[in-house]
């Protein structure tokens, strides 16, 4: 980006407006004489775009039971935005972050989203973590025509024109990992455990159908604990009573710590019990303690230990920005993709207008993603690989299996 600031006079504006029809028919594109497109051209819907800046909201739980999981996303999104700004921003505009706290409370998410879209007129929002928060924000997004980049692996069954889903949908994460347990580990009986809200419930529904109808295995129990639940003694006894070959877990947030510590102290650990978790990323393990999850499996598209160039650079930059002790989980990486995908889409569209940005999104390929190659599917989800990681005592994971690129399929037939 050029550093020379040229005042935006009325005459120039007039010239540009005259030039616009010419530009549209010609080869000039939307660029003006001084190297970046005019605000009036790239923003026709009243977004907070000036000649130098564009506003972007970050909406996560900074407080409450979800903060343990969402803090990493905030850090990754901030890092990506800072890196983009250092490269000159998007369409010559530096991104200005407006940070809002959803406070682990779904109505608060909706209210903060409304504030971001109506008062701040942000051009996009990076945010939400739990499905419940996304569901709360969705009607606001659709009414105000906002744009959300949503980083979390989630249950699928959704495809909004106003959302780009940078995490995996359920079938990408669940089907591949169940097949792996079945084929590689010889697991025949499953016990499904989750926190009591939409993502675990829908995921387990898909898992149950896949286990019972596709694989021909048996689900010997299915249990949900309220969010924030901390005494898992009885639930663990139920599991022991049924003696499943594997525990298939989707416990989230602070409850995770209590769940794994109590599993461990009840004698169920990586040596005595196969457990595959859909929700323990490196972020959670930091709170749980590596010794409590050692030998358990996680199914994710990303692990911090991935050995490729992009990831090594990403991990280094992340640690430089947020401290040597910080860890990077699956969602953190997916959150990091959000601003980059937005940048690509805006540049393809030559505009910040939400309709044009979403129209330009399908087909975008990122070769710089830490997880490897990703591509935006017309259904607004990403093509991605699924990996199985075995936890080590230090909280990192050894990747023991990796799939091919899996097509996102948010509305899987026969699984609803």
């Amino acid at each position: 980006m050029t550093d020379i600031k040229i005042p935006f006079t009325r005459r120039k504006l007039l010239k540009m407006m005259l030039a616009a029809p010419v530009a549209a028919s010609g080869v000039l594109g939307t660029s003006t004489a001084f190297g970046k497109p005019a605000t009036s051209v790239i923003n026709t819907t009243g977004l907070a775009v000036t000649d130098d800046t564009v506003k972007c909201g970050i909406l996560h739980s900074l407080t409450g039971t979800m903060a343990i999981s969402e803090t990493g996303s905030v850090e990754a999104e901030t890092l990506a935005i800072e890196q983009i700004n250092a490269m000159g921003g998007i369409l010559g505009r530096k991104i200005e972050i407006i940070l809002e706290d959803g406070a682990s409370d779904w109505p608060t998410f909706a209210e903060r989203a409304r504030k971001l879209l109506r008062q701040d007129n942000v051009a996009s929002i990076m945010g939400c973590w739990t499905s419940a928060s996304r569901k709360a924000v969705l009607p606001v997004l659709e009414r105000q025509n906002g744009l959300l980049y949503y980083p979390t692996f989630y249950e699928g069954l959704e495809q909004s024109p106003n959302v780009i889903y940078t995490g995996q949908e359920a079938t990408q994460q669940i089907l591949a990992s169940l097949d792996w347990l079945w084929n590689e580990k010889g697991i025949r009986t499953f016990y499904l455990v989750g926190s009591d809200y939409i993502w675990p419930r829908t995921s387990m529904k898909i898992a149950r159908i896949h286990i019972e109808q596709v694989l021909g295995g048996q689900v010997v129990g299915e249990d949900y604990a309220p969010l924030g639940h901390t005494s898992f003694g009885s639930l663990i006894n139920r599991i022991r009573l049924r003696r499943p070959d594997a525990i298939f877990a989707a416990v989230v947030g602070g409850s995770n710590v209590a769940f794994f510590r109590q599993l461990n102290s009840a004698g169920l650990n990586g040596k005595t019990q196969t457990l595959l978790s859909l929700a323990t990323t490196e972020d959670e393990v930091l709170g749980i303690g590596g010794e409590n999850v050692e030998g358990f499996f996680s199914s994710m598209k990303y692990f911090q230990s991935l050995d490729n160039e992009n990831n090594i650079a990403f991990v280094k930059a992340f640690k430089e920005r947020w401290g040597d002790d910080s860890v990077i989980g699956d969602v953190t990486q997916a959150a990091y993709l959000g601003p980059w995908l937005w940048k690509e889409a805006c540049e393809r569209a030559g505009s910040f207008d939400v309709a044009k940005v979403t129209a330009a999104s399908p087909g975008i390929q990122l070769t710089t993603a830490p997880e490897g190659f990703v591509e935006v599917h017309p259904n607004h989800h990403l093509w991605s690989k699924t990996r199985i990681g075995e936890r080590r005592r230090d909280g990192q994971a050894d990747v023991v299996w990796e799939s091919d690129l899996i097509e996102p399929n948010p509305f899987p037939e026969g699984y609803q």
């Binding site: 249990d223 604990a225 009885s234 022991r240 303690g289």
Partner: protein
Amino acid sequence: MAIAAMQGFAGLSFFSVLLLMALGLAIIFGQMRVINMAHGEFMVIGAYTTYMLSVQASAMAPWASEYYILLAIPAAFLTAFIAGMVIEVVMIRHLYHRPLDTLLATWGLALIMQQGFRTFFGAREVSPSTPSWLEGSWRPTDMIDIPLNGMAIMLLTLLVTLGVVWLMYRSRWGLRVRATMASRDMSMAVGINTRWVDRLTFALGCGLAGIAGAAFTMISSTGPTSGTLYIVDTFLVVVFGGAGSITGTVVSAFLIAQGQSILEFFLGSSMAKVTTLLVIIGILMLRPEGLFKSKVRR
């Protein structure tokens, strides 16, 4: 059979957790009639004290990280005790005759304390390292696993409960407390410094909350708003047991814990919670003063 034994233990372990949480409030709310909405935050003070000691221990003397917990419990008590005393002097003592204002004021205090934790410790939940001798389980037979940290908390609860009972019912100081709560004017007339009785009683309740916090952070984790998770259960136990009765608190903690954990075993966690709450509401409608009525005339 083995499952029944472990299930029994799960209930007992939940019982000791509930009782430990409720003891401090049984004194503050039960004896002093102060509705302390910030009680959960005093637990969090204890939890963060433990966490800080854990961090310090592993940084300065790695060998100490096996034993710091023995120091952490008295430290948690002391920190919360001092914090409680400060709060009493600054705020609570002005509100003894205005119970509803206390409710609002302590709720505000809770919010201030939460924000303080957030600013100082960050939003991320933390948990101290577990000493290896508290990890894992005791296996009397091949089938039975009794969690060691659960046993440690039971032992701690037992000691704290005995201590509180002795202090309230067997010591001179307890006598003064009970006299003050029964008849303030008469106590002042016989020369009891009721100011100090109030102050120490409130601080003691807060200190007990600190111990509870130190214990919980070993089984789950601690964040700035963890206190709000505990406060409802805590009040539930004290109100259900009958305010003013330590026996009531013990019995009610036992019933709620066993009831909920048995229901959890058969119905799953969410339904168990709903059923327990419904039963408690039902019983409180029949016995508004709780299980054990206070025998003091007011």
